[in-house]
């Protein structure tokens, strides 16, 4: 009973009590720091070619070894985190923004608007997303901006459905009727009464979405149509690694682990947030 921060504190307490979620959160924070301050984690230049030291195993000078051009793998993985985080956040940002607007429109107005928008969602869901992305990139030149846009533009349908469902249920609640009776207009009802109450599931979807986006970016880069060398990305480091996997395991293992831990981290965190905001699990 101690004032206004209670909801947030309660939420944080439940989230931290979930060990897996806390571990996931820690991993996410770690990679976030890596992406934000790469110089703290490596002193090497990720693009410096050293033909005298190609495919060297991990050593004191190169903790994670070197690649086929003698570049430091640690530096490349560290700077690759930047790409992954950027793609993850921007793509999910785009997807969430689109999904939010369309979901709110469909759920709030209902009727014909809802029917048209949801059929559009159904159509978008019919496309196998990954092949849609492949096709789109085949027409456009692969660059990090295009990749973020394409992943975002093909990933908003889940958010739209989620927001629509939340809006449908929230707009029938008594506090919305009360706001109407007070004389509140549509905009106020949407932004003050519906949206704040729909944020929790959106946050969960966005967190899980970041994991998916990072995985998609890695897959595209691995196939050579994602982030283009020499810009390091976990996916394109792996591409090089697969050529030398028999005698240079470090080149595949470390970017692979980075992808694994990041995706796992976001998934655990997302599931943790979901459990923490789900009232049915309250007081557990």
């Amino acid at each position: 009973m101690s004032g206004s921060r209670d909801i947030g504190r309660d939420f944080a307490r439940r989230l931290l009590r979930n060990r897996l979620a806390a571990a996931g959160g820690l991993v996410v924070v770690f990679f976030f720091l890596v992406a934000a301050f790469p110089a703290l984690f490596t002193s090497q230049n990720p693009d410096r070619i050293d033909v005298a030291n190609i495919l060297r195993p991990p050593s004191a000078a190169h903790p994670l070894g070197t690649d086929d051009l003698g570049r430091d793998v640690l530096a490349r993985v560290v700077y690759g985190a930047r790409v992954s985080m950027k793609v993850g956040f921007v793509a999910v940002g785009i997807a969430t923004a689109i999904g939010l607007v369309l979901g709110l429109l469909a759920g709030f107005h209902g009727g014909r608007v809802d029917a048209v928008l949801m059929r559009f969602v159904d159509i978008m869901l019919c496309f196998p997303t990954f092949f849609l992305i492949l096709a789109a990139i085949a027409f456009l030149s692969p660059s990090i901006v295009i990749i973020m846009a394409v992943i975002g533009l093909t990933g908003w349908m889940g958010v739209a459905r989620l927001v629509r469902a939340e809006t449908l249920s929230l707009k029938e609640r008594d506090f919305v009727a009360a706001a109407r009776a007070q004389g509140a207009g549509d905009a106020r009802i949407i932004f003050r009464h519906i949206l704040p109450n729909a944020l929790a599931p959106i946050l969960v979807a966005a967190t899980l979405g970041v994991a998916g986006a990072i995985l998609t970016e890695s897959a595209l880069s691995f196939l050579g149509i994602g982030v283009q060398p020499p810009t390091p990305s976990w996916g394109n480091i792996l591409t090089v690694g697969k050529n030398y996997i028999e005698f240079a395991w470090w080149l595949s293992l470390f970017p692979g682990l980075a992808i694994l831990f990041t995706v796992l981290g976001y998934n655990l965190l997302g599931e943790g947030i979901r459990d923490a905001v789900d009232p049915r699990l309250k007081g557990r």
Binding site: M1, G3, S4, D174, F175, G183, G185
Partner: protein
Amino acid sequence: MTGGIYRPEPDGALLAMVNVYKTFPVRKSFFSGEDLRVRAVDGVSLTIPPGKTLGLVGESGCGKTTLARLAIRLLAPDSGAIRFEGNDITRMEGEALRTTRRRMQIVFQDPYSSLNPRMKVRDIVGEGWLVHGLAKGKELRERSERLLVRVGMPAEAGWKYPHEFSGGQRQRIGIARAIALSPKLVVADEPVSALDVSVQAQILNLLKDIQEEYGMAYLFVSHDLRVIRHVSDAVAVMYLGKVMETGPAQDLFREPLHPYTRSLMSAVPMLGDAPSERIVLSGEIPSPIAPPPGCRFHTRCFMAEKECAEVCPLLREVAPGRFAACHFV
């Protein structure tokens, strides 16, 4: 001077509902493709004079809540007319409706779903002022706090979120919100049904005190006859979307006329002034999708005759000021 059909008298009434109908679509019949509709409010007329309380009583599913929401135009009727302060608000929209709404408010049944969990109590209470540009910022906070104190809450309550309060306290917050704009009419939709009996009395007394202070009229919806008796000046008894009986509360409780009212009364021990024989109704309340022909109540009525299944009785004056819709009263 008895025998006339019930006619609402819009002149001088705060709220007058004239022959109001409201149906809701249910899914289409799978076989015939016929449009099925729930007839929630099926030709209801009533009036509320300024400053008075009309108690609206009936079983769950009889259309009470729909009628309550029609009264303040949270819903629009299919047909009929609704007049408020002499103005026709039946089809009112937009800015005109927004302005009118300042003078009619609602208190909800469920104190948990009626307060936005993401808003502080002072913002909930003061939303009307903000929306109508009457107060904001510091002034809104101070006015909210004063209003919270008026409804029996501590002033600090304004800083907290609804989940920190009990059902009774939340209902007080809901009442504060409803009276913030000094409305002329407050619809109280089962305001105490979700509360403990001990808290019920406190909330009922608060509502009565506020009515004396502010002079607003109540449309008080409840399924609990004891509550209705406690608060009402006049009572309307609803069954399957229709008003069965209406009249001054004292008379109606002393001598219920309609067989449905009589059976309701007999179900509440120690309610009537004279001990009456228990009238047990058989069967369930029929579906409002396909209400029975003739009198809505004839399928369960102990007085039913052949005529009742064929002719729907009108609400007519059977004693001075008292109206009942029954062939045999």
